[in-house]
């Protein structure tokens, strides 16, 4: 069983061992393995435009500076941050589904590929996705 799991990890780029990241159960994917759908990102973009963009420029959510803060973190951490602090005037006021869609859009903004599987509305599941922004294109200094 252990051997089989290891083979799967080798076969799937973007999937790493949970134990290597200090997790005790389950496998961990990275944001490069298509963890959201294109439809989610499109819907998330609209929510972002309605609820976020008047305070944020997209450039502040991309590039090396953003990567420096979030690379290696679990997606649940970023999700939790957004839920706890955004929108600025009324944090936590969007629905969990809406926050998840915004998260999908943030991933697309950062060049993460879309996939067939929807980003889950579940912090436990998001905790099994590691943010991989290592080679993100520098858009901050444009």
């Amino acid at each position: 069983m252990r051997t089989l799991l290891s083979m799967c990890i080798i076969a799937l780029p973007g999937v790493v061992s949970a134990q290597a990241n200090g997790e005790t159960t389950g496998s961990v994917r990275t944001t490069r393995s298509g963890v959201y759908t294109a439809d989610q990102a499109t819907k998330g973009r609209e929510i972002y435009s309605l609820s976020c963009v008047s305070c944020h420029a997209a450039v502040t959510h991309t590039g090396p500076a953003f990567a420096a803060k979030w690379h290696g973190q679990r997606l649940s951490e970023l999700y939790q941050y957004i839920v706890e602090f955004m929108p600025k005037a009324d944090p936590g006021s969007l629905s969990p589904e809406e926050y998840t869609l915004v998260l999908a859009y943030l991933l697309r903004m950062n060049g993460m590929p879309a996939g067939a599987q929807a980003l889950p509305v579940d912090t436990t599941a998001l905790g099994r996705i590691r943010i991989d922004l290592k080679a993100t294109r520098d858009t901050t200094l444009r």
Binding site: V53, C55, T60, W70, Y81, D90, P91, G92, S95
Partner: protein
């Protein structure tokens, strides 16, 4: 700079028909426009000639074809795809209707358009190519609208562009008036006393909130590189060393004077401790000539300059903003215009600008002909909470204590309504200077008192006290209190603390309610029933936190958590600088105790705040309250709430309200209403607040709706959408079956 003005081709028949109708309507309109019609307030009954319906900003229409009986049968008459002309942020525009045409702006270029009100067909469009002035504009979006003027013969549309030009267009054709400014356009960067220079850019992007990646002064002989899209493109503008200037709201035109101001950079995370301040100016409607200028940061020798203890000159440290970016109202009979003024630079730290900082956060009443100050009232002294005055004040004539009064009611971000005699500025009900908490942040000198209205009662949560916390069980109360005590609590105007906990009180944050978006913000605000003296206030009520830390690449000693390092225009990183390793730019959120929820449940008890609050302005009493789009039934998986039946809560967002003869109508706003619910437009009974109608709409409203009568049909029009999906939607009643009138009650099965 080049104009583009186009008229719809190939429409000869329709044009003739429309023109014929226009002549008929114009004949009536011309009689109306030059007179002070009773109750018209600068509007023609049944039209919507001003952003706020009329110069009093009542958002009231005497129309009653759409009523409680037929509201549910409203249908989409047309949908005008603004996104086809270009992208936008969210569509924040309220169109105006005058003399048989509908006028709007659209896209980040702020294209001015005329539409056929019956079909949504585009009649003409006009835009200006503003080069770098547009690229680096702090408010690069469609804006809130435009302005209409007529002398009964000529009709003009006045539009202010993102790059801060003003154009006067023929309302019939969209062609710039050659007698106005230079070929129909006035460069609003002229006449402010700052030098205009050739501009250049080092990147191809927009200004980054707040003032990062700005334009710069061009070098001698510098050219435009079309490949990198950098360099000098021949654009002239205010020397960028002074800062940035913009516009986001339409001018108000009163007694043939165009009164306009400016908006500024966002004050969230500025790099530079000086920027361009706010101005109000009057221009001749016929020539575009500047008549007067009023400084919203009083210059040396002017009244109020002493409220800037370190100096108020343009370019002095700490001087900037105080921009009146919202819409204005006016009383043509009194000859006065009422200016809601925003806050000074920057949002949450005022250590570089000690003093009360007039005319920040004030209502300023000016003589519209001369620009002379008649009165002013500062509602927040030395603001460090981003409490811009966000909305045109509402003007009403009501009877109070048996006396007829001409009043002005200003709804604000801070959740209070401030009410004055609009001729004199005298308070209608006492507003009491009240001692408030004082900042312990180094360099900050908070004002010892703030003015608190004795009435009306607030419409939004004020700060955070123990009595505000949920207490469904002792364990819930203890948990809520433990969470609440992580940030500084207090009744209102709680000053921020430093994220490193180094202020003597040891707090790393402060509770912030209302937050930077209010209370009332430009999305919401009030409508007035001019017949009864009722006011309906759309607001939100939330709880967030406020905190400060040093941005290592900003001139500010402290600002809201942020790291501008590496951005164009930022200071070089200090020796030993290390980028933050978690949280948003410089956020380090794991050190910030900001969350206001336990198990997804707010620690605030649900209250009748936010949503829609109705006030009887003859007494200042609250009459009724309604949630913005309905109630929510919260649940939590947290064991703390096991066995507890949680009371209903209310959605956030700003209800976007208008009042008619018989209804109070509202959309929930861009981020309001019950999450995941279908987007709706609602109708409430004006006396009771009871919902009497609702209708599903294509998407949530993103700006204040408006209404008008055109060719015998009443329409409700509102903006929706964002990016390339922006649109105006027009609702009207279905065609009358079997010869019944459009306003006839529907058959029972239609209800």
């Amino acid at each position: 700079m080049s104009h583009l003005s186009t008229r719809r081709p190939g429409n000869s028949l329709l044009t003739r028909v429309t023109s014929a109708l226009a002549v008929l309507v114009a004949a009536w309109g011309s009689a109306a426009a030059g007179q002070a019609l009773p109750g018209a307030r600068g509007n023609v009954p049944g039209e919507w000639r001003v952003w706020g319906a009329d110069l009093w900003s009542t958002r009231y229409s005497p129309l009653d074809q759409i009523n409680a009986e037929n509201f549910r049968s409203l249908q989409v008459a047309w949908k005008w795809n603004a996104g086809a002309f270009g992208k936008d942020e969210y569509y924040r525009t309220t169109p105006i209707y005058a003399n048989g045409r509908l006028f709007t702006v659209a896209t980040t270029r702020r294209v001015a358009m005329a539409l056929d009100p019956a079909t949504g067909e585009t009649l003409w469009m006009w835009r200006l190519d503003e080069g770098i002035r547009w690229q680096k504009a702090p408010r690069q979006f469609a804006g809130r609208g435009l302005s209409y003027w007529t002398d009964g013969r000529k009709e003009r549309i006045i539009v202010i562009t993102p790059g801060y030009h003003m154009a006067s267009l023929d309302a019939k054709t969209g062609i710039p008036d050659p007698k106005f400014g230079k070929n129909g356009v006035v460069d609003l960067m002229e006449g402010l006393g700052m030098p205009l220079v050739p501009l250049a850019v080092d990147d191809s992007g927009s200004l980054i909130i707040s003032d990062a990646a700005p334009a710069r002064r061009a070098k001698p002989g510098e050219k435009w590189d079309p490949v990198t899209k950098t360099g000098a493109d021949g654009t002239i503008g205010i020397d960028p060393s002074y800062g940035q200037i913009a516009n986001s709201s339409p001018a108000v035109i009163v007694n043939d004077v165009i009164v306009l101001g400016n908006s500024s950079i966002h004050g969230y995370y500025p790099i530079r401790v000086r920027n361009i301040p706010g101005f109000i100016r009057g221009f001749d409607i016929r020539t575009g000539k500047q008549i007067w200028k009023f400084n919203l940061v009083p210059q040396p020798g002017e009244f109020g300059a002493e409220t800037w203890e370190r100096g108020s000159r343009i370019g002095d440290e700490g001087v900037g903003k105080n921009d009146a970016w919202a819409t204005y109202s006016a009383d043509p009979e009194l000859g006065m215009v009422y200016i809601p003024v925003g806050m000074p630079l920057m949002d949450e730290y005022g250590g570089h600008r000690p003093g009360a900082n007039l005319y920040g956060n004030s209502i300023v009443a000016l003589d519209a002909k001369t620009g002379v100050r008649k009165w002013h009232y500062q509602m927040v002294h030395h603001d460090i909470w981003d409490y811009d005055t966000p909305m045109a004040p509402n003007l009403l004539d009501v009877t109070i204590g048996g006396q007829p009064r001409k009043i002005l009611a200003a709804t604000t971000k801070q959740g209070w309504m401030y009410v004055f005699d609009r001729a004199t500025g005298k308070e209608i009900w006492p507003i009491v200077e009240t001692p408030v908490l004082q900042s312990q942040v180094p360099g900050e000198k908070t004002w010892p008192t703030q003015p608190i209205p004795s009435r009306p009662a607030p419409y939004a949560q004020q700060g955070l006290a123990e009595s505000d916390l949920i207490d469904y069980t002792p364990a819930i109360r203890d948990s809520a209190l433990k969470l609440a005590r992580r940030c500084q609590m207090g009744p209102y105007y709680i000053p921020p603390n430093l994220t490193d906990g180094s202020t003597p009180n040891g707090f790393r944050c402060s509770w912030y309610a209302p937050g930077a978006s209010g209370g009332v913000n430009i999305d919401g605000g009030a409508a007035v029933d001019v017949e009864t003296g009722m006011m309906y206030v759309g607001a939100q009520s939330g709880l967030s936190t406020i905190m400060l830390q040093k941005d290592p690449c900003s001139e500010f000693r402290y600002s809201s958590p942020r790291d501008n390092c590496g951005l164009i225009g930022a200071l070089p990183p200090p020796p030993g600088y290390q980028p933050p390793t978690s949280g948003e730019r410089g956020g380090g959120f794991e050190r910030r105790a900001g969350a206001s929820r336990i198990g997804g449940i707010s620690i605030l008890k649900p209250k009748q705040f936010g949503g829609i609050t109705a006030y009887d302005m003859t007494t200042g009493d609250k009459s009724w309250w309604a949630p913005n789009g309905g109630f929510m039934n919260p649940t939590s998986n947290d064991p703390l709430f096991a066995g507890v039946t949680l009371p209903p809560t209310t959605p956030g967002g700003q209800a976007q309200i208008l009042a008619t003869k018989t209804l109070m109508i509202y959309g929930t706003g861009r981020n309001g209403g019950v999450p995941n619910a279908k987007p709706m437009l609602f109708a409430l009974d004006k006396k009771t607040g009871q919902q009497v109608g609702s209708v599903e709409i294509p998407a949530r409203t993103t700006a204040l709706p408006m209404t008008f009568m055109h060719q015998g049909k009443q329409y409700i029009v509102f903006a929706m959408g964002a990016e390339e999906n922006t649109a105006l939607v027009a609702l009207t009643l279905p065609p009358p079956p079997n010869g019944r009138g459009a306003g006839s009650p529907p058959r029972p099965e239609e209800r």
